[in-house]
């Protein structure tokens, strides 16, 4: 019900809707900086018989290896990509 609460209170920055063949709609809400999506399917949206059919919270935080690379870059005072493939400089001919 958290997704529906956020919809009715306007507590989100992004909302996408996908109409389904059965008339229901899949809504995805997210708020900047939270690192998660609220995705739910609802029937009779805004109608008298509104009903949540499915709901899930999706973790949208960057993968741990990305976080590790960012942490490593900050430690060295760099802000560019320092992934393993980028740390090897091209040989000088």
């Amino acid at each position: 019900m958290e997704g529906l609460r956020r919809l009715y209170s306007g507590d989100f920055n992004h909302m996408s809707q996908e109409r389904q063949p059965d008339g229901s709609v899949i809504i995805t809400l997210s708020k900047r900086g939270e690192g998660r999506f609220y995705r739910f399917r609802v029937r009779d949206l805004y109608g008298p018989d509104e009903e949540i059919l499915e709901e899930e919270v999706i973790d949208a935080a960057p993968p741990q290896y990305i976080l590790d690379r960012m942490k490593e870059a900050q430690k060295h005072g760099r802000t560019d990509n320092v992934g393993p493939a980028d740390t090897q400089e091209a040989p000088v001919p």
Binding site: G10, M15, S16, Q17, R19
Partner: protein, 230 residues
């Protein structure tokens, strides 16, 4: 002639002073009482020269300044208080020159995005046939107003073999409660419009982002609209 007055009484009820001399060289007033109420009314039709005001009281309740001069050559205001609220009401033209490097000026859409009050809506539909449509809906919460600053859409053939067909579609912003079509854009393959004057949806009204296919073949469509809500 010199008139010296030295009052050392601990309390004085009232002193009335009525000076009718045609010219007065100088009046020095030094009030050291712990609490003084001093009402001054200046009725001069014109004050030339300088009027320096230096207030060093620790707290000042209210200072009302009403300048009715038709022209003000220079008005320097230097507020060093740790916190100050300034309300400025300007009638006519006000020119501001901001030269401080550390001052950022934001228009409301930019400020709303910075403060996290921006709203972005997306709508997708697949395998839509001739004049089939879908919509995304949202009811503006109580106490808020939704301001929409732009609208865009995209339409593409569902089947790669139909890429060169007449792929026409359109998208609309609708105040469903008020039954008003606020903005519509159509085009081949898609299109987009910014709204310099935001489209507004009041509290409690249902807003719909509509998307229609008007191509002769099945298409995939998507639309987006963006703005802020305060």
């Amino acid at each position: 002639m010199t008139l010296c007055v030295d009052i050392t009484a601990q309390t004085i009820g009232k002193i009335g002073i009525d000076i009718q001399a045609q010219t007065i060289g100088a009046i020095d007033i030094n009030i050291a009482a712990s609490a003084v109420k001093l009402a001054i009314t200046i009725n001069a039709g014109d004050i030339t020269g300088n009027l320096p005001i230096d207030i060093t009281a620790q707290t000042v309740g209210n200072i009302g300044i009403d300048i009715k001069a038709q022209t003000v050559s220079q008005l320097n205001v230097n507020i060093a208080a740790s916190a100050a609220t300034i309300t400025v009401s300007v009638t006519g033209i006000a020119n501001f020159s901001i030269v401080a490097q550390e001052v950022g000026v934001y228009l409301q859409p930019e400020w709303a995005a910075k403060e996290g009050n921006d709203k972005n809506f997306y709508l997708t539909a697949v395998n839509m046939g001739w004049h089939e449509g879908v919509y995304a809906s949202y009811v503006v919460p109580s106490g808020k107003t939704l301001y929409l600053c732009g609208l865009s859409f995209r339409i593409a053939a569902a089947d790669a073999a139909n890429y060169d067909h007449h792929l026409y579609g359109y998208a609309s912003l609708i105040d469903w409660t008020a039954d008003i079509n606020l903005a519509t854009i159509g085009g081949l393959g898609g299109g987009g419009i910014p709204c310099p004057k935001p489209v507004t949806i009041p509290e409690g009204h249902e807003f719909k982002l509509e998307l229609y296919c008007e191509a002769g073949v099945d298409c995939h469509l998507l639309a987006s609209s963006w703005g802020y809500e305060i």
